[in-house]
């Protein structure tokens, strides 16, 4: 299969941050409607990989290729990658004081779709629908982006953005971290419902827990900047039982 047959494909990606190589050759292919999980212990390079793909200025992709529906991702800057259909749900979302959630989302959609009467009407309607889905109050719209938000609220806003922006490939960077079980269920519901079925999702996570709610088609385990093993959903359960140390002791080729 060619790169353009996948929503997202990358080959031998190497990433450096502050002169140090943290991703040492990752290759992935995610097809239409597929959910892949990227798991690994702290410091394995998962977040660096995610941020580098989205175009974070501090991370440099030193070699490798990446495509979104066959289009070269690496030739684009962060803005273009987003407009090409890539979305990153941040692990630590940033506060933008003075900018309301509604204005922020409106600006993002306007940047993609233009600015006309109809899209404005639809925007408000859709925003309220997504609020309901993610069980947030209407007043959320007038709060300043991530300003004084609890961890759970920040993660909900990330998924809300995903739901409104409708990306082709959504990379969710430790979206489950810091969430209690109820928040986790709501956020997972959000992830599952917002997909039209065609998107690809790359779920970056440390824990297996979220994978009970957002069921992956493939699981990859990243250790020290490389994918040590890939497998089906049962791989995640195996990790749950035996921990990452087991992986480190028994590296085996991609299954």
């Amino acid at each position: 299969m060619k790169d353009k047959d996948f929503v997202f494909a990358c080959h031998d990606i190497h990433v450096e941050v502050e002169g140090k190589e943290v991703v040492k050759g990752i290759s992935l292919e995610i097809g239409r409607g597929q959910k892949h999980a990227l798991m690994g212990p702290n410091g394995s390079g998962k977040s660096s990989f995610a941020n580098a793909l989205a175009g974070h200025p501090n991370y440099t992709i030193t070699s490798g290729q990446a495509y979104i529906e066959g289009t070269n991702l690496l030739e684009m800057d962060a803005t273009e990658r987003s407009r090409a259909g890539l979305f990153l749900a941040f692990q630590y979302p940033l506060a933008i004081p003075g900018v309301t959630v509604a204005n922020f989302l409106r600006a993002a959609l306007k940047a993609r779709n233009g600015n006309d009467e109809e899209s404005l009407r639809n925007f408000r309607k859709e925003l309220m629908e997504k609020f309901q889905l993610l069980e947030v109050d209407k007043s959320f719209a007038n709060r300043y982006v991530n300003d004084g938000f609890s961890g759970g609220e920040k993660k909900r806003l990330e998924i809300l953005q995903m739901a409104m922006l409708k990306p082709k490939i959504a990379i969710l960077d430790e979206t489950d971290s810091g969430l209690d079980i109820d928040a986790l269920k709501v956020v997972s519901k959000g992830i599952n419902s917002s997909t039209s079925g065609d998107e690809a999702i790359l779920l970056v996570t440390h824990y297996q827990r979220i994978l009970n709610y957002v069921k992956p088609d493939r699981v990859h385990v990243m250790i020290d900047g490389k994918i040590a093993r890939s497998g089906g959903p049962e791989l995640a359960l195996h990790l749950e039982e035996h921990g990452y140390d087991w992986m480190k002791q028994e590296p085996s080729p991609v299954a």
Binding site: G55, P57, T79, S82, F87, G98, V99, A111
Partner: protein
């Protein structure tokens, strides 16, 4: 007041021998000759031209002497201040003179900005000083009728002096005497135009009064003098200026604004200053808030080469409240030296100062503030927040806060922050599809949001568009 109106014998002589000296006796003709520079003759002519009462004429002459005897301030941007050539300035522009200017003389970048802001034709000409009249007489008339019915006086200062001399004489220069500083002395000598507002007790002026409505060329005056009196329990909101760039060839602007909020009254004074970048804007604004009264200054500084302006509130009655919300945008070649002063001289008074400044492309924004709490101002509360945003390495921000607290049992808060547009924030926004410029603009809009949300809708929209243009660097 009587003592400062002592007649000066040399002043009395002026005008006596005009016929012989200059070959005319009419002030109109005097100004037709295009007299620059400042002296007692000019002051005399201004007063004669306006047909003012003698007390005002004497007041002006006295003020001129004070101006001439005072040295230039030794603080602030002394380099720029000392570059002012007082002799190379017209101190009085007659409405007729403005009409002489042609649209072709207006600089290209100003015209372009008008287009970008979507300003209608007639308005453009007025703002550029090309036309002295603005065809909104009809709008103004019906508004005027409503105000008159409620007993509200809203006139230009010249007319106010003429038609309500008792009120004017009672309050004029009681808050800002000529001796206050060199530029209040200057204004006191050559003032022209500005607004005079009196609101009777208990009257709530429902719509904001705008200088715009008093359309005549005096609005664009260099030396506007505004006096607003809100009698007991009344409420008024006054809006000065506009967001569109205001073009003027007269490089020195020195206004004086005096506000008096009597017991239980409320005054809000909103300014968006956007003078063209050749202008020195040196303003003295002060308010007196009596018992349980509230005064709010909403002060936006976008234009001018150098602005020095520190809206002040004297909380002189128990329970009085004051708020000063100021933003300053300093672009290339600009210095916004703005700030606030609050003086607590009564118990249970509270004040809040919020200052937001943005510096870009080598611009310089300064915050200069004074909070003074007298020993009798028990149980007072003060909160000061100054935030500076530096867009790039070339720009500069300074903060000079002063606090003189001489009372016990008071609560004082002060917070100062300097930041730049964080790369992480930019990435967060660009990763959502915004371009870097769009992202930066959104962050800036968020930064000044506490100010923008206090503006009437159309001003907020215009201000946002203006900031957008400033960020693009397309405003002169």
């Amino acid at each position: 007041m009587a003592d400062i109106l002592e007649k000066n014998s040399t002043v009395a002589d002026i005008g006596e021998d005009y016929e012989t000296k200059y070959g005319f006796s009419d002030p109109e003709e005097y100004f037709m000759k295009g007299a620059k520079g400042l002296n007692h003759e000019v002051v005399e002519m201004i007063s004669r031209m306006k047909k003012e009462p003698e007390w005002m004429r004497d007041f002006r002459h006295e003020a001129l002497d004070i101006f001439l005897s005072k040295p230039m301030p030794r603080w602030g941007n002394t380099e720029l201040l000392n570059s002012i050539d007082f002799d190379d300035i017209f101190y009085y522009i007659r409405p007729m003179e403005n009409q002489g200017k042609s649209w072709d003389d207006v600089p290209e970048n100003i015209k372009k900005t008008f287009d970008r802001l979507g300003i209608p034709e007639a308005e453009k000409k007025f703002l550029a000083g090309v036309s002295a009249q603005y065809e909104s007489e009809v709008v103004y008339h019906s508004l005027k009728e409503d105000l008159v019915k409620q007993g509200i006086i809203f006139l230009d200062m010249d007319s106010g002096l003429r038609e309500h001399p008792e009120i004017v004489q009672k309050y004029f220069s009681t808050i800002i005497p000529p001796q206050d500083n060199k530029f209040s002395a200057l204004n006191s000598a050559v003032w022209s135009g500005g607004s005079f507002i009196y609101v009777p007790p208990g009257v709530d002026v429902k719509i904001p009064l705008q200088a715009y409505f008093r359309i005549n060329a005096q609005n664009m005056g260099q030396f506007e003098r505004t006096l607003i009196i809100a009698d007991k329990g009344s409420r008024v909101h006054y809006i000065e200026g506009c967001t569109a760039p205001t073009y003027s060839t007269n490089s020195l602007h020195s206004a004086v604004v005096e506000l008096i909020a009597l017991e239980g009254a409320y005054i809000r004074y909103t300014t968006i200053q956007n003078w063209s970048h050749n202008i020195f804007n040196l303003v003295t604004k002060r308010a007196m808030a009596y018992k349980n009264a509230t005064v709010e200054w909403v002060d936006g500084n976008i234009g001018s080469k150098l602005t020095m302006k520190y809206p002040s509130i004297y909380l002189v009655g128990e329970g009085a409240k004051g708020e000063i919300l100021s933003i300053a945008f300093a672009g290339n070649g600009q210095h916004q030296d703005a700030g606030a002063k609050v003086i607590h001289s009564a118990p249970n008074t509270s004040s809040r100062i919020t200052s937001k400044s943005i510096s870009k492309a080598g611009g310089r924004a300064s915050y200069r503030g004074l909070v003074k709490v007298y020993p009798n101002a028990l149980k007072s509360k003060v909160s000061v927040e100054c935030d500076a945003l530096l867009i790039d390495e070339a720009s500069r921000s300074d903060t000079y806060p002063t606090m003189e607290i001489d009372a016990d049992d008071v609560r004082i808060e002060h917070e100062a922050r300097v930041s730049k547009v964080a790369e992480e924030q930019l990435f967060y926004l660009t990763s959502r599809g915004l371009s870097e410029d769009e992202a930066r603009l959104l962050i800036i809009n968020g930064f000044i949001e506490p100010f923008t949300k206090e503006l009437p809708m159309e001003y907020a929209v215009e201000l946002n568009r203006l900031i957008e243009l400033e960020m693009e660097g397309s405003v002169g």
